[in-house]
């Protein structure tokens, strides 16, 4: 949308110079037929003005009059109340039931707690007490997976040659092809559960010579192979970062996408209290900007192809020879002072340090990191070992290509989509050589569309399964709902085919379905089985130690090409390796640092962009070997020079619903880190939709700089100076006329404001408050997606977001400070502040936003008439307006209606909405105890964002409980309110971030955030 459109888009249709009289009436009628939702508007045809006759005009007039007269006399439509024929045990209408399960869509099977109301799963949480996520925490994709369950895009029937067939016909065809087949290729994800693995083994026995391959598009293969050689087993290095005082990440987004992110975040956040026993220091050397990089105390922009020099130099420096490191530092522009501090820190904290390296780095780097960790004594302290990880090492894609090119009789693809995301070229041709192809997936994606037989899969929440959680612990996944579209889980497909092929195996023939197979594989008695189901897992975590690394010779990677470019094909913090590309919630959730939605872009340093002569929205052509793709450019401060960072999985063409045609498919380039040629490409300016652009909260570059209290941070030195000052009162009791003194200011500033409203006494009942610790937030977006699921928040697409109409109730703002090539980024979750002097409340003409006696700023949808005055008067811009009817029949399929949380109103067009502090949860907590007027216990209410937050950065509670969570958070000397000086008295308290910079380097950042 350009702002200088010549024609005004006049919604009344009476644009300048509109004809008077009858023609105006035609226009008016045409306006009546105008579609209100910009999508799917083809079925509403505006009556053509030239066809209007007197007769039709009279007909319409009389019809309108009749409708008007009749509708005035009719009661609202009759509604039915339909109880079940027979009620399932435990189920009560409108009351939630919770089931334990396991998250199976990733390499780390976290525990799940599924909330089900009236038979529909409507919210997922982490499972309290689970060995992997004991705090009941969850990731964004876990929260968002309900979207995929109720995705109308899902395949609804088995297909053969593109035509619908029955399951038995499809099975007959598959079994017929398998019978007598010489070469059979079975391709699955690398995360099969133990029961599925046993079934695959049984299948291979029934089909002699069948090859089984683990396919993962964005692989951890190189690192896993190195670990296998170095540590002597196909295991996985685990972390115990709660024991770490110094952490170094070499291009590893361990708080966002790399490894056990929930475990990493839990361990890391445990050491991030500046007043705690241990205050760890995080060094991040990275190529792009990630959430981990924003959490760093010292960030070193690293050209990824120079990781070898970095690790080797560091190892030598730890051995006492720092010459190599300083030489490399000079060559690659690393800050020598930061490196010096890093070496000092690592040396001083042997046994409490960990080095992590990103999966895309070359094998040499991983083996060097292994010996570095051995030098630092990380084994048994900060790093552990899982000899039986849930994910097998993925097969080399070259092997898969080779097997296909050999022309197998049958190729079976279960739950994978290599047709879209196979790294490199040649997959489509190779697939054509298979004589008979079978593919099973949730939607009719590229691979299913290319297969002879396409089978609909059941969603993980519709399936039985198990998982190797950690050594000694096995997890169970149970179906929450019968398959919505007649899908069948891949275990059942394998079982059906194996049963038909393995003649003479009575035990197998008697196994009814995968559920029975799983149950017999577990071999538990009925009571123990039910206990396991109730708990979600069995066993307790066994302690395993990281073996001493064996030296292994890995080829040294090539030196960075002078003048060349590095391309990093990274995992997206939301959509991961692309498996959630059909999940529109995840597509509309902004990327952690550049805040781009609905796209993957070529993020590059602003200096690189100007060297290439491109600006935001221009195109570049990235060439690796023979393959090349064109990508839209986004200059992003903090990205390493001569490095392009983009995300995998985008550019779907089939089966991704709203995700089709979103972004660019970069799979053809390969996988991970690549050396590339980059040139400017022609092409129209591309609209990159972002929820937030880069700006400076203090206007420090303008003529009128102002110190604004928005996102605050400081260093330990500043904190010590601040603490030496006289104590500052609790900001919620602060008299604004008295002036404020909040960290990191060391001087009181007077605020010329007075309280004009009558003070309200909130001391009697509850006073709800929320506190966010900026020192903990890693920008993982789990809170945003938890809020979206809990509160029925709609998405509105790329164009609307570009207009600033994103709908999320909680967003994560990003503030940058410091030099453009390596800025300090501060992330700040921003939601309705529930101000006691709320500016929105005073301007609402219909009293649709009011203040509750418990301090909540309430929004009443049924009263709202959509003037949007409140939003205009909100200093935090946290109110969201439904410009279109996103929940109507035109945009929401009936199956998606099942997904809605029945305890939260589904909003229609023309109403304002915003964070309610999860009022439905507050009410549920109140109703759970008898009404004796007693105060709810501290922690009785958990908001959705708080519950999901893996770093425990969010706490919620009753501020009137002395010594309670909120009381403590508000009394912290780092506590402040955003824009305190305008005296709106928010109920959301923030804690300023302390960056634990090394004492040698402790000087404030110029420019402020």
């Amino acid at each position: 949308m350009s702002s200088n459109d010549a024609t005004p888009n006049d919604p009344t249709g009476y644009a300048e110079g509109a004809p008077a009289g009858a023609d105006a009436m035609h226009q008016g009628l045409a306006v009546l037929g105008r579609s209100e939702v910009p999508i799917h508007d083809d079925h509403v045809d505006a009556p053509s003005a030239s066809e209007m006759t007197r007769r039709t005009a009279m007909k319409m007039l009389s019809l309108t009059a009749m409708v008007g007269m009749v509708s005035g006399c009719v009661r609202k439509p009759e509604r039915r109340i339909i109880a079940m024929h027979d009620r399932p045990e435990y189920q009560q209408p409108g009351m939630p039931l919770y089931y334990a399960s396991t998250w199976l869509e990733g390499a780390h099977p976290y525990g799940l707690l599924v909330k089900q109301i009236d038979g529909r799963p409507i919210k997922l949480e982490g499972l309290q007490g689970h060995p992997l996520n004991p705090g009941g925490k969850s990731t964004g994709p876990m929260q968002a997976s309900l979207y995929s369950l109720y995705d109308p895009e899902r395949l609804r029937s088995p297909k053969q040659g593109g035509a619908d067939v029955s399951w038995s016909a499809a099975d007959k065809a598959v079994v017929g092809a398998l019978k007598g087949a010489q070469r059979v290729l079975l391709v699955t994800r690398s995360t099969l559960g133990p029961a599925e693995k046993a079934l695959v083994a049984r299948f291979r026995k029934a089909v002699p010579g069948a090859l089984h391959m683990h396919y993962e598009p964005a692989q951890d293969r190189v690192r896993r192979e190195v670990w296998k050689q170095v540590y002597g087993a196909p295991g996985e290095v685990t972390t115990s970062l709660e024991n770490a005082k110094v952490i170094l990440s070499i291009d590893s987004d361990f708080l966002g996408t790399d490894g056990d992110v929930l475990g990493n975040t839990r361990g890391f956040s445990a050491t991030r209290d500046p007043n705690g026993e241990v205050f760890s220091r995080l060094y991040v050397a990275e190529s792009g900007m990630t959430g981990t990089g924003t959490s760093a105390d010292h960030r070193i922009p690293l050209r990824p192809s120079a990781a070898k020099e970095f690790v080797v130099g560091l190892a030598m420096a730890l051995g006492g020879d720092s010459k190599t490191l300083s030489a490399s530092a000079g060559r690659f522009g690393w800050d020598p002072k930061v490196l010096e501090a890093l070496v000092k820190d690592l040396n001083a904290n042997r046994g409490a340090a960990a080095v992590l390296a990103g999966p895309h780095l070359p094998a040499f780097v991983h083996s060097a990191v292994a010996s570095l960790n051995a030098t630092l004594g990380a084994a048994g302290k900060t790093l552990g070992w899982n000899p039986t990880p849930a994910a097998a090492i993925a097969t080399d894609p070259a092997e898969l290509l080779q097997a296909l090119n050999a022309g197998p009789d049958v190729a079976i693809f279960l739950g994978v989509n290599p047709m879209h995301d196979f790294p490199g070229a040649g997959f489509a041709d190779a697939l054509g050589k298979a004589k008979f192809t079978v593919a099973q997936g949730l939607t009719e994606d590229e691979t299913l569309a290319a297969a002879e037989i396409a089978l609909p899969s059941a969603h993980a929440l519709e399936s039985w399964n198990d998982a190797a959680v950690s050594p000694g612990v096995k997890g169970l996944a149970q179906p929450m709902i019968a398959p919505l579209f007649g899908g069948r889980q891949i275990g059942d497909s394998l079982l059906a085919w194996t049963k038909a092929l393995a003649t003479g195996d009575d035990a197998l023939a008697k196994t009814k379905d995968f559920h029975a197979w799983l149950k017999s594989a577990w071999g538990l008695g009925q009571t123990a089985w039910e206990g396991a189901l109730r708990k979600g897992y069995v066993g307790s975590a066994a302690k395993t130690t990281l073996p001493a690394p064996k030296g292994a010779g890995f080829p040294e990677p090539a030196d960075p090409v002078e003048g060349g470019y590095d391309v990093v094909l990274a995992l997206h913090p939301n959509t991961g390796d692309g498996r959630w590309q059909g999940n529109a919630w995840l597509l509309e959730t902004p990327e952690t640092c550049n805040k781009v939605v609905w796209d993957n872009v070529a993020a590059m340093a602003p200096s690189t962009a100007s060297a290439l002569g491109v600006e935001e929205g221009d195109w570049i052509k990235v060439t690796v070997g023979e393959a090349s793709v064109e990508l839209p450019v986004l200059p992003q401060p903090g990205v390493q020079k001569n490095t392009i960072v983009t995300h995998v999985g985008y550019g779907r063409t089939k089966g991704a619903g709203h995700g089709n045609g979103v972004g660019v498919n970069v799979a053809a380039l390969g996988v991970g880190l690549l050396a590339a040629k980059v040139v400017k490409a022609s092409g129209d300016k591309y609209l990159i939709s972002r929820t937030q652009h880069v700006f400076d909260q203090d206007y420090s570059h303008t003529d009128t700089p102002v110190k604004r209290h928005i996102a605050l941070s400081g260093t330990p030195k500043e904190y010590a100076e601040y603490k030496a000052q006289p104590p500052r009162p609790d900001p919620s009791t602060l008299d604004p006329t008295d002036g404020t003194l909040s960290f990191p200011d060391t001087q009181k500033h007077k605020i010329p404001l007075t309280q004009i409203d009558e003070a309200v006494d909130y001391s009697k009942g509850a006073k709800w408050g929320l506190a966010i610790d900026l020192g903990q937030c890693t920008g993982c977006n789990a809170c945003m997606l938890a809020c979206q699921t809990e509160n029925n928040i709609v998405i509105d697409g790329k164009e609307e977001v570009a207009k600033g109409r994103d709908m999320s109730w909680i967003r994560i703002d990003r503030y940058e400070a410091g030099p453009e090539d390596n800025p300090e980024i501060l992330l700040q979750p921003m939601l309705c502040q529930h101000c006691d002097n709320a500016p929105c409340e005073t301007v609402c003409p219909v009293n649709a936003t009011t203040h509750s006696p418990e301090g909540l700023n309430e929004q009443v949808y049924n009263r709202c008439v959509g003037t949007r005055y409140c939003n205009n008067n909100c200093p935090y811009k946290v109110r969201r307006f439904n410009f279109f009817n996103y929940t109507g029949k035109q945009t929401t399929s009936p199956v998606q209606e099942l997904r809605a949380n029945p305890h939260v109103t589904v909003r229609t067009r023309g109403v304002m909405e915003k964070c309610t502090f999860c009022i439905q949860r507050i009410n549920a907590a109140k109703f759970a105890v008898p009404d004796r007027g007693e105060r709810l216990k501290d922690g009785a209410v958990t908001t959705a964002c708080q519950q999901a937050c893996p770093a425990d950065a969010i706490v919620f509670g009753d501020a009137n409980i002395k010594g309670g969570k909120i009381d403590r958070a508000r009394k912290s000397d780092l506590a402040y309110h955003v824009l305190e000086e305008i005296n709106v008295r928010p109920n959301v308290t923030y804690a300023a971030r302390i960056r634990n910079v090394h004492p040698d380097l402790d000087h404030p950042v110029k420019g402020g955030h």
Partner: protein, 201 residues
């Protein structure tokens, strides 16, 4: 695309007609609203039900407690409509016949639903808007002193359930604003809350 469709005389007639129509709509509307508002369309609503069920027999003659069938009223937001299986827990045995030896009408229908394994599509009588979150259990806490009949009328005398109260917001507030104040263990006084998010969220 020009002004040739309507003649000037026709336009005049249309305008007169519209004026008369407009005035009558305004006057009629005001009159209608005035006369119909109190005894509005909601109050007294008594739709025909798909099954000839009689509360007057169940709750009246046999004096069966409301919560015997509406089992969730004390436990959750919805009082709960009994399932067909719930009905059959008694009516497998109780198959009353009329004077001519035929099964009573409602029972015959119930047996049919039971055989067909389908739920009964009852018509909602006490229907609140979707943005209202009413909770039965909260209102039936002992200290409120509320009985089912306070809102639903004396169902025990109704052959066919009729809505006796408007269930409009003003009617709710009549109670909420008068609820007795009482002292609590911590010394604060509570009363039925009247802020918006009590019912709307």
């Amino acid at each position: 695309m020009s002004s040739t469709i309507f003649t000037r005389a026709f336009d005049r007639r249309v305008r007169t007609l519209l004026t008369v129509l407009g005035i009558s709509v305004v006057v009629g509307g005001a009159f209608g609203t005035h006369t119909l508002w109190q005894a509005n369309m909601e109050q007294g609503y008594s739709p025909a039900q798909p099954l000839a069920f009689n509360h007057a027999i169940m709750a009246g003659t046999h004096k069966i407690e409301c919560t015997y069938c509406h089992t969730q009223a004390l436990k959750g937001p919805h009082a709960g409509i009994p399932t067909v299986a719930d009905c059959m827990k008694c009516h497998k045995e109780i198959q009353t016949k009329d004077g001519e030896g035929h099964l009573k009408e409602g029972l015959a229908q119930l047996n049919e639903y039971w055989r067909a394994k389908t739920p009964i599509p009852w018509v909602k009588v006490h229907d609140l808007a979707d943005f209202v979150y009413f909770d039965h259990s909260r209102h039936l806490q002992p200290h409120t002193g509320l009985q089912c009949a306070d809102c639903h009328g004396d169902v025990a005398k109704m052959d066919r359930v009729t809505r006796v109260n408007s269930l409009k917001m003003g009617w709710c507030l009549d109670c909420h604003m008068q609820a007795p104040q009482k002292n609590t263990p911590e010394g604060w006084t509570t009363r039925a809350p009247i802020h918006c998010t009590t019912c709307h969220r």
